[in-house]
Amino acid sequence: MASIVIPSGLLLGTLLLIPSLFGDFTAYQIGLFLIYGIVAQGIGFLWGKTGILPLGQTIFFGSTAYASAHILINIETLGWQLVLMLLSVLIAGAIAYVLATMVFRGKTDSGPYFSLITLALVLIAEQLASTSPNITGGFNGLSGYEPIAQLDPFGNLYYLIVGVTVVSTMLLLALNRLPAGLIARAVSDNEPRLQLLGFATHKIKGLVFAMSAMLAATAGVLFASHQGIVTPTSAGFALSAQFIIWTAVGGRFHVLGPLLGSVVLAWLTAELRDDFIYWEISIAAIFILVVLKSPGGLAEIISIYFKKLVKAQVSEEPSYCAAPNVKSQQPAATLQFDQCHLQVGVVQILKGVTFTTPAQGVVCIIGPNGAGKTSLLNVITGNLLASKGTILLAEKHIHCRPPYAALSSGIGRKLQVPSVFFSMTVGENLTVATLAQRAKWYHYFSAKPLLWRSAYISSLLAHEALPLTHNLAKQVSELPQGHRQFLEFAMTAAAQPRLLLLDEPCAGLSTAETHLMTDLIRQYQTQTKGLVLLIEHDMSIVEALSDKVLVLHQGQVLAFASYVEVKANKDVAAVYAGGTK
């Protein structure tokens, strides 16, 4: 709580002092910069957390500015004015949500294209604004109205702006410390992993984009009152580009960074533009330097110095609480492949795979490299779509739904190269995994779920030998590859899926670690009485773990039987003739 209240309080205090210290004109100026800063804060949150760079935030800023100008011109009562303004902000958010979810649906790599779409949209908006004189007043703009509640831009309106700024700051600071903020960060960190944890990432991106759009829209409402005029430049690309520069220089990873960037740069611009002819060049140079050398901007630099000054408090061991049960614990079920084909480009990867697993037990998948083992897991989770044939889990079709729906149907998956959230700590990784399938929407906006600890994760961490137990506060990027295998295993198993897919979980592990991993896998299976599908090269592990072995070769099932039977199988021996295993 203190981490939200103290910065917000300091911000509020500083801003409230400005009129009496520097006079009402400076307050007027700062008021405008704060309005810009609110937009930049929204951009910073979106860009810094989810990695989406919006080039057209003035679409929302400008359109609600126009809307509220019309509201102030045409509507008499304050109450209705406020209702309609709120409505315009909500509409902006809804449009942003629809736009982003539509573009991001089914793709994880459309970031740059989305940016260009917002660029094209802002160009359209600017064009429409300047050539629709009946609606926007054209080039000369829409003016001749009183500010909201007759608040004087040189007087009380400033306090309204300060209020909104502080609320926006508190909101974002709070989000940073809530599960919602954690999930937003996870999107840019490792989107495929988040999808496998059951999160529909395009909707998360849509929500964050909608939030940044609503901040821009709110700022637009204030702008209309503050300026008394709205012109096409308020909906134009040039202002959008300014927002980006301010956000980047101020620092997109911190809530206060974009605010600082907007106020400092805009104020310096106002002060220096008239007299210092190299000002624009300087801004461009600073911007380039920030992009190249210091992506965290001013805020990052300041916080490094700040941390040197103020010693970090020793954080005490948080007191964890029991996590609620997963939303629906499904009974064990068989996995059934029927004539499943997979084609990528012109390459046939799976050629009529057919098998039915038991509902319980450990099934090891073996086969030479290129046999289609990982692809088999990919069609189960929906990362690749089978081109022909059916896949049934508990008699239900699962071969044509997106990866984020896998976990809710009871399928968890660990990838071949450990795929975790690299910018987070081990503890945060586990928290994200614990939220999966347990948290309802309101849990994301409450701090308590951050301390959730499921019984299963507790039992895992109780293993002294588990390399995670004493590393909860460590960054994943500092973790060796082998330890990441355990982390990803824990995350995949956290939601207790009835079907656990493990792709070479023992690769890169030491002998002792391999034993631990095989123990954990076996324990998981006995505890949940579910099904584990495991790709493994090491025959000793296969022998130790497997109830059944599925041998794949060139996209087809070569054998599906017990380890002993498979070992005696001549076809299998022929495939492995050249190899050791």
């Binding site: 760079l53 740059p112 940016s115 779409i117 064009q127 060049i281 801004i283 911007f287 380039i288």
Partner: protein
């Protein structure tokens, strides 16, 4: 579909093709979202003015154009761009900064005012029964020849394959003996020079001022996006769609519709076919 309209269409197509070429090389091949592309066109357009300021004869315009653009490009590549390979977003941001920098530099050097470059070939010539500006006629021919040459070169030359290879798999490219550092630099400078040459060609037919670059940036970007990155065929299709639809709608209705249509078209492509219309497979 009058003959003049067809010639105008050809002029617009060849002009947009030559303007976009540089971006197609730098964005399409090197994956640098070069927001300063228009500024290189602008510097190229200033070449005749630099030439006359230096008191050089007119035929020196071409070498002056190549030299000045190459110099700027080389400095920027060494100082900034080389850190940006493989960093798509950062390349967009940093080159946006570069574009401001270049605009301001040119403004300091040559002032804000409009410059004028006389047509090297004046008058009109008769084509398919109509009079058409001689300079345009010659340039259409030159650009067509240029692109035929480029297509042949691109198909045959090892350099083109090596650039493709470098972008596709930098590590392996090094392993087969490609000096990727130097190849990227040469590729970037080449792209900039081609933008500069486009500027030189445009100079006598358009407004010349430090702010002119933006006119050429946006459409080029959407050509590359609509056509698909990294192939001359894609470039051709993109140019055809963007210039064609704008010219057609401009002639049938008005320019505002043409402009908005191009933007909407680009959005649809970015959304539904982000790899562009042309994919060679």
């Amino acid at each position: 579909m009058t003959p003049v309209f067809l010639l105008n269409l050809m002029w617009q197509l060849s002009l947009l093709a030559v303007v976009t070429l540089g971006l197609a090389i730098i964005f399409g091949q090197l994956r640098i979202m070069n927001m300063a592309h228009g500024e290189f066109v602008m510097i190229g357009a200033y070449a005749p003015i630099i030439t006359s300021t230096l008191g050089l004869p007119n035929w020196m315009q071409l070498p002056v154009c190549i030299a000045s653009v190459a110099l700027v490009a080389l400095i920027l590549e060494r100082a900034i761009i080389r850190h940006l390979y493989g960093r798509l977003f950062d390349s967009l941001l940093a080159t946006w900064g570069i574009s401001i920098l270049l605009r301001e530099m040119v403004e300091l050097a040559f002032g804000r005012g409009f410059q004028s470059v006389p047509l090297p070939i004046s008058g009109t010539v008769s084509w398919i029964g109509i009079d058409y500006p001689a300079y345009r006629s010659v340039i259409i021919g030159v650009i067509i020849l240029l692109f035929i040459g480029l297509t042949i070169w691109y198909k045959r030359s090892l350099v083109a394959t090596r650039i493709k290879a470098m972008v596709n798999n930098p590590e392996l490219a090094q392993a087969v003996g490609i000096n990727t550092v130097s190849l990227s630099r040469r590729c970037f400078v080449f792209g900039c020079i081609s933008a500069g040459l486009a500027g030189l060609i445009i100079a006598p037919t358009a407004q010349i001022s430090p702010l002119m670059g933006l006119d050429y940036l946006i459409r080029s970007f959407f050509v590359v996006v609509v056509g698909g990155l990294g192939s001359l065929e894609g470039l051709a299709i993109g140019v055809g769609l963007i210039a064609g639809s704008q010219t057609l709608l401009g002639a049938l209705f008005n320019q505002t519709y043409g402009y908005i249509f191009v933007l909407v078209l680009s959005i649809l492509f970015l959304w539904l076919r982000p790899n562009g219309i042309y994919r060679n497979s």
